[in-house]
């Protein structure tokens, strides 16, 4: 009798733990999707030209995971994240200060049996909520409701540049960093391997980040 009760209690506990694990989506795995990409801009000038809008903006709360395609087995195959940003300064295009723009970012999440998987397209680093960036944006031309009135980054790793503030020994409040020399890949929010772009970290700083800082942040 004792043994029977023990078995029942054990089975119930096991089922409870299993259910909890399956329902709990806080367990996150990360992966990268190797996609072939269109080259919208080969250098800084082309990036400036191709962008419909160039703004300094803050990333707002409420990112939305969009799945656009499922495979034949019902797995989430492809998607993106819909993100709202608040314009703080406008350098190109019709966006005005305090406007809210919707952008699509190159990553999405899918539910797994246990937890969820965040899939980034070609090493894209998601924009962080509450943080400021210089965004280069192109208006979506795809005639789909999901893309209506929204923008995309013409290049996943060269379409956004974090505005970085750092505390120094002489100041209690964070100061805008205009010298990229000291910044590392993590601070610049790029993939260290630069796998998808063919640029080293130094080339990225010289050819892109420094130029963005010089043009839009040193004012």
């Amino acid at each position: 009798m004792k043994s029977k009760i023990f078995k029942i209690v054990f089975l119930c506990s096991f089922c409870l733990v299993l259910t909890f694990i399956i329902i709990d989506k806080s367990y996150v795995t990360k992966s990268t999707m190797s996609t072939q990409m269109i080259n919208y801009a080969s250098n800084f000038q082309e990036l400036e030209d191709v962008a419909d809008v160039i703004v300094k903006a803050k990333v707002l709360n409420g990112k939305q995971n969009i799945i656009t395609t499922k495979d034949e087995f019902g797995n989430d195959l492809f998607g993106f994240t819909k993100t709202k940003i608040e314009v703080l300064d406008s350098f190109k295009g019709n966006a005005k200060i305090k406007d809210t723009l919707t952008i699509s970012e190159g990553y999405f999440s899918r539910d797994l049996t246990v937890g969820k998987e965040i899939i980034t397209l070609s090493n894209y680093k998601p924009a962080k909520v509450g943080k400021e960036y210089i965004f280069y944006l192109v208006k979506h031309k795809i005639d789909k409701e999901v893309f209506k009135d929204s923008y995309f980054l013409p290049n996943y790793t060269k379409g956004k540049y974090p505005v970085i503030y750092k505390k120094t020994d002489n100041s209690s409040t964070p100061i805008l960093q205009t010298n990229a020399t000291e910044l590392n890949a993590e601070e610049l929010e790029i993939n260290e391997s630069r796998e998808a772009d063919g640029l080293s970290l130094e080339e990225y700083k010289n050819d892109y980040y420094d130029k963005v800082v010089e043009k839009y942040l040193k004012k």
């Binding site: 190797s34 996609t35 269109i38 395609t69 195959l77 492809f78 190159g106 290049n155 391997s193 796998e195």
Partner: protein, 184 residues
């Protein structure tokens, strides 16, 4: 003995440079793979067939043995994914049969088991902006993923380079060839 050591060192160094390959292999040790494409890609048959077969004749251990129209039993299926976003041209996905008989979508980069099935999804609007030369190259690149080849890191001139720019080769070149040989 000296000659043997010399070749061992040379080969080791050569392979050490070409490690942009995935760890998984095909189920049952299959190295002769078939490609099928869906009916809505009928007009792309020549590009799919030519692009996929660019990998033949490089390594005796692996080949694309046939490319078939409207065939659901192929190892690799080429399909349309409509227009998914405005950056992506195409991508490959890897599947592994589970114990229930269904298919699990695996992470191509980290999976270490055996694959049963691969799909190549083409984003039509982006893809159709390219001419036949580039379309074949795009197919070749995706079939390359299905042959367990990864993007080059650091970037080099290769068909497996992920952005269609000056680093992108329209057919397999040295880096791709070395990787395919190293893998299979």
């Amino acid at each position: 003995m000296t000659i043997l050591t010399f070749f061992t060192v040379v080969n080791f160094n050569s392979y050490a440079d070409t490690d942009d390959v995935y760890k998984w292999t095909w189920e049952g040790g299959t190295k002769s793979l078939t490609v099928g494409y869906t009916t809505d890609l009928k007009s792309e048959g020549t590009n799919i067939s030519t692009g996929a077969k660019y990998w033949n004749g490089i390594d005796n251990n692996v080949s694309i043995s046939g490319v078939y129209y409207d065939n659901n039993t192929s190892h690799i299926k080429v399909q349309i994914g409509d227009q998914l976003d405005e950056n992506t041209i195409a991508f490959a996905s890897l599947y592994n049969k589970n114990w229930l008989g269904g298919y699990n979508k695996e992470n191509m980069s980290t999976f270490t088991g055996t694959a049963d099935y691969c799909t190549v999804t083409i984003c039509t609007t982006s893809y159709n902006n390219f001419n036949d030369l580039w379309k074949k190259a795009i197919i070749c690149h995706e079939v390359g993923h299905c042959l367990a080849l990864d993007h080059p890191s650091p970037a080099v001139y290769a068909n497996m380079f992920p952005i269609v720019n000056t680093n992108y080769a329209t057919t397999p070149v040295t880096h791709d060839i070395d990787n395919l040989k190293a893998k299979w």
